[in-house]
């Protein structure tokens, strides 16, 4: 940790050596460690209040199997906080003219419309590829994958409104990725897309003239609610919700004890069958037949595999959380 002074208001801020863009917690100005103020800093608007967010979460959870139908009455909020996560969004226009060699086939040994062998020769090839792509990068400190890969809707971005962040006592995270690094990464991604298209047409590129232009770029903070809740006291569950569109990014699921017991009972039932199947298969393999004259090897293998996998799936489905993809 080091101290840095805001170039706008002079406030002292604790920063980490890896921070690339700092947002002043006193006045909301964003600046780089060398003290240059960012001209353009965007954020998504907070459209969901804390109680809206909680209602959305309840409406989502109540649809999940194993959750009590009267969850809305039982749920109690332990903590709700807002964090602004930083993302870079770059629009890159790439243009590559290339010269190289490509393979061309000739055929030998004709019979009918077909040939018995194929021979490759090399020919000169030239061409041109143009692609414009919007590249989105999560720029903050290490967090859960659901947030890193969250497909933010850049459409509703506005200029960063510090008053709004302050009003929600939000924690505004600093970017670990500088503007230049983000730009290079976005160009690199666009370049890969263009070259994968070129490589489809050309065996080897020998000479290329590249031109990459950033047509638009934005540093965007996305407000996300972190919610901790309990259901009728007991264990604490966590969830994250997009404060601008109300989407559930992830949530842990408060399944009822009754449901969990039933699920565990059913998984135990599957696993007992797995063991029985494995034992019978083993004995049959050794030539010991439980019922004389009946070779139970194959059905026992069937029993052990199917019930084993059903047991594993049951455990998986009743314990997993929910990611943005499923919560959409």
């Amino acid at each position: 940790m080091a101290k840095k002074h805001c170039p706008n208001c002079g406030g002292a801020l604790d920063i980490h050596p890896t921070d690339a863009i700092i947002t002043c917690s006193y006045c909301g100005t964003s600046f780089t460690p060398d003290g240059t103020k960012m001209k353009e800093h965007f954020a998504l608007q907070v459209n969901y209040s804390e109680s809206d967010a909680l209602d959305t979460l309840k409406a989502y959870l109540v649809k999940v199997p194993g959750v009590a139908n009267d969850l809305a009455q039982q749920i109690s909020l332990k903590e709700i906080s807002m964090t602004y996560y930083p993302y870079w969004v770059y629009t890159v226009q790439g243009d590559v003219s290339y010269r190289g060699i490509d393979k061309k086939a000739s055929f030998r040994g004709q019979s009918g419309g077909r040939y018995s062998s194929i021979h490759w020769e090399w020919v000169a090839e030239s061409g041109h590829q143009e692609q414009t792509r919007q590249i989105r990068l999560y720029a903050g400190p290490k967090v859960r994958g659901e947030i890193v890969n969250y497909p933010i809707a850049t459409r509703s971005r506005r200029y960063f409104n510090f008053e709004e962040a302050k009003q929600h006592t939000a924690n505004v995270l600093f970017s670990k990725v500088s503007e230049e690094a983000a730009k290079q990464q976005a160009i690199g991604t666009t370049k890969n897309i263009i070259y994968s298209r070129i490589n489809r047409e050309t065996e080897r590129v020998e000479e290329a003239k590249e031109n990459f232009v950033v047509t638009d770029h934005a540093y965007i903070h996305v407000p996300i609610y972190h919610i901790q809740f309990t259901v009728g006291g007991g264990k604490t569950y966590e969830a994250a919700l997009d404060a601008s569109n109300g989407r559930v990014i992830y949530t842990e699921i408060p399944r009822t004890t009754g449901f969990k017991l039933k699920a565990l009972g059913s998984a135990a039932f599957w696993f007992i069958l797995t063991i029985i199947g494995a034992a019978v298969a083993f004995l049959s393999y050794q030539g010991i037949h439980l019922i004389s004259g009946l070779d139970l090897f194959y059905p026992a293998i069937g029993l052990t595999t199917i019930s084993g996998i059903l047991g594993i799936l049951t455990l998986y489905y009743v314990t997993r959380g929910v990611t943005a993809e499923r919560a959409r």
């Binding site: 200029y159 960063f160 008053e163």
Partner: protein, 332 residues
Amino acid sequence: MESTTKPIETMTALKCQSCNAPLTVSPDDVVIVCGYCGYTTTIEGDKIDNHFVLEPTVDASDVREKVTDWVGRGGKAQVTEAILRFVPFWVEEMHAHSTYQGYKKHQETEYYTDSQGKRRSRTKIEYEPIQGTFDENRSINVLCRRGATFYSQGELDKALQVTKREVKPFNYNSITAAEKNPLFLNSELTDADAYEIAETYVEDDHRSRADSRATEIWDCHTRIQKTGSYLLHVPHWLVRYRFGTETYRVGIDGYTKKVLKGEVPVTTAFRAAMYFVSILFLFIGTVGTYFVAEFLRPQGLEMLSFAVVILSLIIAAFAIRQTFKISSEKRE
């Protein structure tokens, strides 16, 4: 602080050139439709004349009725909200010409009798040159949004590519006859952006069609010439309904009245049935395997009874997944 906390007002201070109403504009918008009079301009202020629309064929009460019917379950679904949105597309018209070259590999097993009189097999490989051209006029609808922003957006995009529809010149008055407060989504793509996307799409389409005809295509060249373009607004209804204590969404194509995609409740009866299916296939995978193995034993092929195990496993695993799924989606 002046540069970082510009008030939102400066972003929305644009006024409609035709009726002077304030316009709601986000920084990503490049084509703006006035919500009060329908006047459409680029962000630079140039009027867009080649603007068309698919006129909605259903109003809010039709949509409510439609959703209640579609959900079924004794009409217990209660529609709480129905929003009509006009979604922008650029329709890019072009002439595309491709030539491709490649080959198809044919592999055949031949049986023959060798000099010792034994039956033998050999694999014969032959190559067939493949070449051809695609020469066609294409009209590609490019959805003018960069990020996914509303429910069933992808389905609307797809539906539009496959059904031929009658477009009409954009006329604000005839639209407001069906819905008093239509919501227009602005376009985040310029005509040129959309053309580039359409071009890439057609190039890839020709390439994949050529690929499907051959083992390998070593050369595929496409020349594309733009012949025209227009902005098209397509009606889309987003409907929310309550079923018991739960809320679900349905997206409806405002032109064909079809449900693009909708969430439907998963009932306990359905879950119980699926659980029963998984047990049933465990039974089939065990007892069935026994009989299949016994049947195949005389031929020495009893190993093949594993196929019954694998098949039963796939069905049982699918049924378990259905048992615990959170919500179900249906298309019409």
